[in-house]
């Protein structure tokens, strides 16, 4: 059975999409590779893809993230080239998660070093709309 996966690199990673593509060519498996700005899309038989995924993770354990994709690369039902441009369906979720990837990478790196999560440390949260409203009222009323 065919399988397609996204290989996405975190912003902290030194690995470029072209490095991943080269590594896949070196492996010599029967896999289609499409380079994108966020990583690569790989498509092939399920056994080849799962073996390749294991090899790719070794390039940068904490900064490479892998996700399944429903459609093959270039599928006319999803490809922007065939649909006249616009954001690709699924782009919004990936964009949202890409912002958090460096944090997750640091979490994975800390886990790999065997560190326990910091306890009792206050976290820095963005103020919510209610917080902002309270701040403005306090300041200007």
């Amino acid at each position: 059975m065919k399988s397609t996966k996204y290989v996405v690199t975190s912003q902290d990673s030194d690995v470029l999409p072209s490095d991943i593509a080269l590594r896949i060519y070196e492996l010599g498996r029967d896999i289609n590779v499409k380079e994108t700005c966020f990583g690569v899309i790989i498509d092939g038989e399920e056994e080849d893809i799962s073996a390749t995924v294991e090899d790719l993770r070794k390039m940068d354990e904490t900064n490479i993230f892998i996700k399944d994709r429903g459609f093959s690369p270039g599928d006319p039902r999803r490809c922007r080239g065939h649909r006249g441009g616009g954001a690709r369906p699924g782009f919004y979720m990936m964009e949202h998660e890409s912002e958090i990837l460096p944090l997750i990478s640091r979490g994975l790196a800390s886990e790999a070093r065997g560190e326990d999560p910091p306890s009792g440390v206050e976290t820095k949260r963005r103020p919510t709309l209610e917080d902002l409203e309270a701040m403005i009222n306090e300041e200007f009323s």
Binding site: V8, I66, K67, D116
Partner: protein, 145 residues
């Protein structure tokens, strides 16, 4: 290997963390793949057919919008298959095709009432939270096997 449903079902972070620990992540793209690769009357096969909202009737009543029933036709079998679940709280993370609030409510409700091991979290906003996030997921997944 345990089948772990991730919610949002399109989440790359959760699916990746689950598969790193050797479990199987149940994600919506695998369901879509089955549909778009199976030959049918439509050429190329559609990812959603008029039959799907009818399948969704198992999970939602007929007066519920067809969008909810159509989504449940994909998500429902995954929920039935799930042996554990990791759910992200808050609707900021449900974007694009998972942006239907009623479907999200129903899917989360079905996961909660299924009585399977369930971990509820929020996406981290800083490094400390991220370390806790990764640690909690690791602890949860190690406890499953």
């Amino acid at each position: 290997m345990v089948k772990v449903m991730v919610y949002p079902p399109t989440s790359m972070i959760l699916a990746d963390l689950v598969e790193r620990k050797g479990h199987e992540a149940l994600v919506v793209s695998k369901e879509v793949r089955k549909k778009v690769d199976t030959p049918g009357l439509d050429s190329p096969p559609l990812n959603m057919t008029p039959e799907d909202p009818k399948k969704g009737l198992k999970y939602a009543a007929v007066d519920v919008p067809s969008g909810v029933r159509g989504r449940m036709a994909l998500l429902g079998p995954m929920i039935e298959e799930a042996e554990a679940a990791i759910v992200i709280k808050g609707d900021d993370c449900t974007l694009g095709c998972t942006g239907c609030a009623r479907t999200n409510e129903l899917a989360r409700f079905l996961l909660k009432t299924k009585r399977i091991p369930l971990l509820e979290l929020e996406y981290p906003e800083d490094e400390v939270e991220a370390k806790r996030f990764v640690f909690k997921i690791r602890e949860f997944l190690e406890g499953l096997s």
